[in-house]
């Protein structure tokens, strides 16, 4: 088991004909992910790495059963592509797209909530259930199967931490980059609940950032969890009012800074790492290894 995906998950890739998407599809197929269809308007009938390409999602779904979609489309097209996926009835959409306007993300999120779908991202490196399914660009060689659930607002940080956990012999149930933007499909709290319910996850690592209220909400969830959670909040060095790459990391108020977030998380029973290289040590500790 894992969260969101498994070895049975069949994936559809929006914008499969783009160069970046092609490279990612090759990695996913090589890893054993079941990429069953791609969609690029105007490219129907072609194939990408033996994956058949369709003009629209509905056409693809006439030929294939699909549980999840990955969106490799440019920001101006992301909203329409996400709505196409959701309207066709797919209940997991991973929006890889960077720089999606906030209002487009909000619209897609509200639409997904009405149809009961789960949106990962936007601005995400995707997720991996090690040994089962790669849906995105999380480097498989940095992961291995195991009991740690890892969720991160940042893709690159999830790579760094997954690698250090793997080097320490601490495998992962799922590594998921939830998206670095201010408005994302699901907040950390939703992923924490999913990890709490996943029988293969024994401990969770939360990689948060300064800015916004998401870690405060996460703390309320952690307080009710039975599984231990280790957290790192990055962005201590961000001057207030500055946006450091992630739109979500803008500190607008005092309670959105690193210290305030660490305090509420600690009060909820979380172990807080001071630097990223302390994480494997703390995870070993909570797993009793």
């Amino acid at each position: 088991m894992a969260i969101l995906v498994s070895r049975d998950t069949r994936l559809l890739v929006m914008g499969i004909s783009g160069r970046y998407a092609r490279n990612q599809v090759r990695e996913m197929v090589a890893y054993g992910s079941r990429v069953v269809a791609g969609v690029t308007l105007g490219r129907g009938g072609e194939t990408v790495d033996e994956v058949p390409v369709y003009d629209t999602v509905r056409e693809a779904l006439q030929e294939h059963a699909v549980e999840g979609a990955l969106l490799y489309v440019p920001a101006p097209a992301a909203r329409e592509a996400a709505l196409e996926v959701l309207e066709a009835g797919i209940r997991l959409a991973v929006i890889v797209t960077e720089g999606m306007p906030v209002q487009d993300a909000a619209y897609v999120r509200a639409f997904a909530e009405e149809c009961g779908a789960w949106v990962v991202g936007p601005n995400t490196a995707g997720l991996i259930a090690p040994g089962q399914c790669l849906a995105g660009s999380i480097a498989p060689s940095y992961t291995m199967p195991g009991p740690v659930g890892l969720l991160s607002r940042s893709g690159t940080l999830s790579f760094e931490v997954a690698r250090s956990l793997t080097e320490a012999g601490l495998g992962q149930s799922t590594v998921v980059a939830i998206g670095g933007d201010a408005v994302i499909g699901k907040n950390p709290a939703a992923y924490l609940k999913a990890f709490e319910e996943d029988p293969d996850t024994e401990a969770v690592v939360l990689l948060g950032e300064v800015g916004g209220q998401k870690e405060h909400e996460a703390a309320a969830t952690i307080a009710r969890m039975t599984k231990p959670v280790v957290a790192l909040i990055v962005g201590r060095s961000v001057p207030p009012g500055k946006t450091m790459g992630h739109a979500g990391a803008l500190i607008a108020r005092e309670d959105q800074g690193a210290e305030a977030k660490e305090r509420v998380l600690r009060d909820a029973g979380c172990l807080i790492a001071d630097t990223l290289w302390e994480i494997p040590h703390l995870v070993s500790q909570v797993l009793g290894r």
């Binding site: 970046y20 920001a75 101006p76 009405e114 690159t156 760094e160 933007d181 209220q213 962005g235 450091m244």
Partner: protein
Amino acid sequence: MHLYEWAGKDLLRGAGIAVPRGRLVHSPEQAAAACGELGGTAILKAQVRQGRRGKAGLIRKVESGEAAAVAADLLASSLEGEPVQALLVEEPVAASGEWYAAITMDDLSGRPVALVSLKGGTEVEAEAELPIRMEINPLRGLSRHDAATLWRTAGLRGMLLRPAADALVGLYKVFVESDAVLVEVNPLFSRGDEPSIAGDAKVVIDESSLFRHPQWRDERLADPMLHPLERKAASLGVVYIELDGDIAVLSGGAGATMALLDAIQHHGGRPANFLDAAGGSGPETLRHMVDLVLEKVATDERVKAVVLNVTVAGTPLESFVKGATVALSQRPSRVPIFGCVRAAAAAVRTMSLAEGAAILSDHGVRLFPDLRQAVLAAVACSRGDQ
């Protein structure tokens, strides 16, 4: 990006919200002339992006005779380092009340929220009076009756509800059409059952939406508060933020870079910049990033060391190494570079990590097996211990 008050008011006017009669001026003479046109009494409002202008004395009520002198004074001032380059000259508004109204994006629900209060002005600013809030479903928008209900909850009754609801619906229109993350009017002047007048306008535009609003793109690059390197980076698709430390940072990915800056600070060092590739990090972008950091090193004598942290996964290691070595040959670093380079399996097909490391070492980069050691070495170097 924050818009100036005058630009925000243009947007409000376009959405049918009344704003005071006024004119944007750039000199004391223009200010005096505008004051005369408005009937002899006017409010001079310095145009800076920071808030709290009233407290800083940058909003002044004047009569014709003194307008030029006060304008000259304002045009020579600055707020938190931002020079005043223009003034908005407006007619005073006779109002029966000062309200507060805003639309902003809530990062938790992922929905726009409307905020209103009948005690606008400084009371809301001081957070003595918290506004009443209501979530808006973006699939449906903000209806006039929902807007009216919110004002009723805030305590408003009778014919005053109409102009109040209309103003809020107008703000939501601006919010959506301009791709704003904040549209705030404080004060919103109440005038009985006449249309309300927006006394101020604070509009923050979502920078990701600039492909739909090309008119703001140049505005952003013209921001006087941008450091020259920040401006150059923005035009290259790279996010660079100038910090005041002495350890320059060359790292990719917003989260990983923030973690690195935190780690430098944790170990007693002071980071000199933040860096992130916006919108994918192809070979081009990686080369721009190396160039920007080398320019920082060359132009800021405070910099004593560089930490390089690169993890390539999607981009081949070879293209990063080539880009970096070209840049390093053109503009060698005058301070040591302490680095940690890693590559996922997919990135090392055309160049192994050992080969890449050897080439970087030949160009003077001191590589470490893990980032922690590179950070410790850079911190020691910045303190003169090495």
